[in-house]
Symmetry: C2
Subunit: 277 residues, 2 copies
């Protein structure tokens, strides 16, 4: 497996990689969720590039940029085992050189949910993803359903800006107790980690209610809220029943919905989601 | 020469074009300025694509989108004569489909000069140029120095977003009396057309003053203003002495500068520029 830091090295190494090329963009701190993306790319593509870059522009001023877990040598080992041909780990200075001033920004899709609670987050995401796409020039790019809104936003960006590639969104990978794999799970103490299972319990309870005939958006939100209330360490930030394409919050009767939520445990913010219908 | 309308057709036709591929993005109404770009691309590239698209998102609400000259059959003939292999003339609906919501936007470079007087103009330009780049995937793209700020903005976008291509900026092509070639010259009546030569006379007078030792930014602006004042049909909108890279307005002693101006003649707005030093 080849490892490069600079964009010029990446472009040179890119020349000898066969098509179709699959890109797995990550912020490092790789877990089984990321590895499932790399393995999927390995199955579907002739070559696989993994980017490792903790992108500062998608963190808010009071978020966890400084604390975000970083372990390059472990990430390289895991990426190689999962089947990466090339890892690109750029420096911040080269991604955002002096005078940098170009931003890619979406409108309605970035307004609700994560966008509402993390102003500027998606501007950072879409800008860096556009840069990764242009630098790597993949035919396919792999994203996790864990960040459901991010997946929808990136899909829309690809259509709107005519990027010549396909977005593949892969299922959430969960721990045995249902907790969605996340690099941020590492922040949790043992009580919080135990409590974190309430996110998936809440989503599952709403999905069961839906399966049993509950179609009222407020009813489904109420099911999630009641389950969350059973966990004293959980401080819910939002509980959403939204249209899976537009991400607009739904009212009344629901046929198909993205159930999603953000919950704080101490200083740690966790998100999870499930689609019903 | 091949002519395509839809993006899928473009992508299919693109497959058989040799690299390096040169793209000449235009809004049609081709004149000798555009043709100089196509000929330059023909000299430097193995294949040449010309796009013809009057991009609605770069026109302000009260600008000349509806009146902008359109003559597809003439443009096709001129593009072919100048050496284009493929012309891509997309429809507005396909470039901006329902739900379109992704914008590419620059900060400081788009604020002065044209950006100040045409709010939203450069957001439309950078968004459509990013789309053209992604759809055509050229190795080189050709722009005219006539739109000096546009050239600077597109260059910066290419660096910032890591587009894998080179921007080539070609000299302004002028009529015998010095008027810069522009599709908008077609709006001028014969008196206005005669008067339009004052733009280049003003730029040339300032360049001569610079050559003769005038280094004060205000002095150079004054030379341009005095020449413009001699033409009763000319209504100057701005007269600028700016840094050629940052486009920031200069004060005091000047070593190198972009001299630029925008002048109304009736309902027609003309721009021109010259670099000194």
């Amino acid at each position: 497996m080849n490892v490069v830091r600079r964009i010029a090295e990446l472009r040179a190494a890119r020349e000898s990689l066969a098509s179709p090329l699959g890109l797995v963009p990550t912020m490092g701190a790789l877990h089984d969720g990321h590895l499932s993306l790399i393995r999927r790319a390995r199955e579907e593509c002739a070559s696989v590039v993994v980017s490792l870059f903790v992108n500062p522009t998608q963190f808010g001023a009071h978020e966890d940029l400084g604390a975000y877990p970083r372990d390059l040598s472990r990430d390289l080992e895991l990426a190689e085992q999962a089947g990466a041909d090339l890892v690109w780990a750029p420096e911040v200075d080269e991604m955002y050189p002096p005078g940098f001033q170009t931003w890619v920004q979406l409108e309605s899709l970035t307004k609700p949910l994560e966008g509402l609670h993390r102003p500027g987050h998606f501007r950072g995401v879409t800008t860096v993803v556009a840069k990764l796409f242009n630098a790597v020039q993949p035919q396919r790019a792999y994203f996790g359903q864990k960040d459901a809104q991010q997946a929808a936003v990136v899909r829309r960006m690809v259509v709107d800006l005519n990027f010549p590639l396909e977005i593949v969104v892969c299922p959430i990978v969960r721990e045995a107790d249902g907790v969605a794999m996340s690099s941020r799970n590492a922040y949790l103490n043992s009580d919080e980690r135990r409590g974190a299972a309430v996110l998936f319990r809440a989503l599952s309870a709403a999905a069961e209610a839906f399966a049993a005939g509950e179609r009222e958006a407020d009813g489904l939100r109420g099911v999630m809220a009641r389950v969350l209330a059973e966990e004293p360490l959980a401080r819910p930030q939002y509980i959403s029943i939204a249209d899976p394409e537009s991400l607009q919050e739904l009212e009344g009767q629901v046929e198909r919905a993205l159930l999603s939520l953000a919950v704080h445990f101490g200083n740690t913010r966790l998100i999870d989601n499930l689609i019903v219908g």
